[in-house]
Symmetry: C2
Subunit: 342 residues, 2 copies
C-alpha cells in the first residue's frame, strides 16, 4: 500500500512526493525501497503488488524497477484501505487462486528485519493452512496514544502455532490513561496494519462483509490485464466506499488472529517517531543531512538533506526541516499543528 | 569604504558577498546603494570614491553604475582604514587639491537621511573653512559596549559652529558599567567612523603622524590614472601598516572636533542590531524574506530571502538565517559565537 500523502512530515514530504518515496532515514534508500527489500526472502519481486495513486506511478516505477509494471495498480482517487485491498485481492485471485498474501504499508520502519521475516513466514504458513485472518501485533514499548490497539486472548493460542492468538477486539487510539492500562495489562498490542491471509480467505471475507465492493471488483475480472482495465477502474473506483479494512473486515470477521511481534516497528507517523528511529547523538539529537552541526542542543530532529550546511545552537526539543526552499522550525511537542502551517 | 568582509552575519553575508553588497534590510537596495543614495544631494556621483577589495570590483561596478570606474580603488589586501584613507586622499588631492571630503563606511544604516545630510553639510562647511578634523558623534540611546566612544568638551564649541565641539578624547569599547556612566554623563558620543575634513587637512595629518604611509602614496602621484597604477598599488599596498585612522590620526591630532548627531544610526555590527533596524511585528520579531510565518515566537530575527516559505513556531530570541544552502539557527544572546560556527 503506497497511496499515503504524508501530510504530517511537511516540508520534508509533500503530496507531490510523500514519505514512502523519500529517504526519510538518510540511509540511501526510500521507505518503499526498504519495504521491498524487507520482503526479499519472503516473496520474489514479480509477486509484489503495489497499490498507489496515479500521480505516483512514475515514482514507483523509478524506485522499484524490479516490480513488474502490471503489478502496479493505480487508484484514480484515495478510498482508504478496504477498496485498495479488495482490488488487489481480486487481481491476485485471477492470477493464482491459491496465493497467500501479506498486506503491508510502504512507509513504516522495521528494526529487526530477520525477526520480521520470521514472523511473516510463520503467519503465512498458518494462513495457508487455515481460513485465518492474521494481523501482526507489536508489543507496546510505551503508552502510545497515536496507535490503535489489538486485545489478544493470550489464553487461547492456535493449535497449530503456539505464538498466534485469537483477537478479542480492536481498540481505537486510546487516551493516555487508557494506554497506560493497556501497557500494564500486557495483552494489548499495537495494530501495525500488517495483515496475512490466503486470497480465498480475504475474498470470502469481502463477499460476506462488503458484498457490493467485492462484487464490483469481481465483475471487473474479465477486463483485468486488458487495455480496458484502467479506464474501468477510473470510472468505478471513485464510487467505492471510503472505508478502512479494519472497519470493513477485521472488526467483524470471526477467525481473526494476532501474531505478537517484537521486531522494532514504527509507522513514522510523526517527527517524534522519526527521531526515535534515527541514530541519535549523546544529547538525543537525530540529524539527517550532509553537514549538520549542533551546539548546546538536545532532543532535536534536524532533517535537511538539501542544505549544504546547517548550524543549530541552543534548541531543545525542536524539529528543524528544510526541503525545496521551505523551512520549518517547530517544537516537537507542537507537531500536531504542522498541518495548519502549510 | 567598502572593503569589509562581514563575518558576523554568516550565513547571510560571506567573504564572497559581504553585507555592504546585500539587501540586508529587505528594502530592495543594498547597503552600499543606500549609502550612495544618502549622499545624493551632498555630492554628485562622479565625485564619489569607493575603496574596496579587488574581489569586490564587479559587485561595486554592478551595484553603483553611477560611480565612475576610475573612482573605484582596489586594494590587493586588507590593511584597515588608515592606508585606505591615505590612498584615496592622495588620489583626490591630485584631482582637486581644494576638495573637501566625507569618509563613510558603506555598510551602516542611517534612520533620518535629511538630518544626516544636514549634519554632513554643516560639518563640511566647517571643515572647508578651518583645518579641523571633524567626526560625527552619535548621541547614545543605550549603554552599548560594542562601540567606541568620543568624549566631547561640550563647554568648548567652535566659534564658527555652535553645534561642533572639541574632542577631549577617544575611548575604546567600554565595559557595561563604564558604558552606563558614559550615557549618564551626557558628553560621550558613539564613534560612527564618519569623518569630515579638507583634503589638505588630512594629507597634512598623514604627513605629520604617518609620514611613511603618506610618502608612499605621494610617491605614486605620477602614476595615478595611468595603466601602471594598479600594478604599483598591488606591489606596495601589502607593505602598508595595518592600522586604523582612529589610532593613526584621530587620537593624535590636535584640531579634532565632533558634531553630536541624532539621526538614528547603526553599524549593523550584529544580528541584534539588524533586528532593531528592521520593522518588527507586535512581538518583537523582524522578518526579512518573501513568505515568513511566525507562531508563538518573540524577539526573533528571521532572514531568509531565498527561501520560498519559512514557518517558525515557538522560538524566543533567536536568529534564523538561510542563504545559499546554508542554515543558521542561534540564540541572539550567543551571536558572538557565530564566527566559530563556519
Amino acid at each position: 500500500m503506497a497511496g499515503g500523502i504524508g501530510s504530517r512530515f511537511w516540508p520534508m514530504s509533500s503530496p507531490e512526493k510523500p514519505k514512502q518515496f523519500l529517504d526519510v532515514l538518510g540511509c540511501g534508500k526510500t521507505l518503499i525501497q526498504l519495504t521491498l527489500a524487507r520482503f526479499r526472502t519472503v516473496v520474489p519481486p514479480e509477486n509484489v503488488w503495489v497499490v498507489t495513486s496515479q500521480r505516483y506511478e512514475s515514482l514507483v516505477r523509478e524506485q522499484l524497477p524490479e516490480v513488474p509494471a502490471r503489478n502496479v495498480l493505480l487508484e484514480p482517487c484515495r478510498r482508504n484501505t478496504a477498496p485498495c485491498i479488495c482490488y488487489v485481492s481480486w487481481k491476485i485471485k485471477k492470477q493464482n487462486p491459491r496465493a497467500n498474501i501479506v498486506v503491508a504499508p510502504s512507509d513504516h520502519v522495521i528494526g529487526d528485519v530477520d525477526a520480521f521475516r520470521s514472523a511473516v513466514n510463520d503467519a503465512l504458513e498458518f494462513a495457508a493452512e487455515t481460513d485465518a485472518i492474521v494481523t501482526l501485533g507489536i508489543k507496546p514499548t510505551r503508552p502510545e496514544t497515536g496507535y490503535g490497539y489489538i486485545k489478544a486472548d493470550l489464553g487461547f493460542s492456535s493449535s497449530r502455532k503456539k505464538n498466534i492468538f485469537r483477537v478479542d477486539e480492536f481498540r481505537e487510539k486510546p487516551t493516555a490513561e487508557v494506554a497506560e492500562g493497556y501497557v500494564k495489562q500486557g495483552n494489548y498490542l499495537w495494530n501495525a496494519g500488517i495483515f496475512i491471509w490466503s486470497v480465498s480467505t480475504i475474498i470470502n471475507a469481502f463477499r460476506v462483509y462488503e458484498p457490493e465492493l467485492s462484487a464490483m471488483f469481481e465483475d471487473l475480472m474479465p477486463c483485468y490485464d486488458t487495455p480496458d482495465e484502467q479506464a474501468q477502474i477510473d470510472k468505478l473506483y471513485p464510487e467505492c466506499k471510503d472505508i478502512s479494512v479494519d472497519y470493513a473486515i477485521m472488526e467483524k470477521a470471526e477467525e481473526v488472529f494476532v501474531y505478537p511481534a517484537d521486531f522494532g516497528w514504527s509507522d513514522l507517523g510523526s517527527w517524534g517517531s522519526l527521531r526515535q528511529q534515527v541514530k541519535q547523538d549523546a544529547y538525543g539529537n537525530a540529524c539527517i543531512g550532509p553537514d549538520i552541526s549542533l551546539y548546546d542542543s538536545h532532543n532535536c530532529i534536524v532533517h535537511a538533506t538539501e542544505e549544504k550546511k546547517v548550524v543549530v545552537q541552543g534548541l531543545d526539543g525542536y524539529i528543524v526541516a528544510e526541503k525545496d526552499g521551505t523551512l520549518l522550525i517547530c517544537r516537537l511537542s507542537e507537531e500536531q499543528r504542522i498541518k495548519l502551517f502549510h
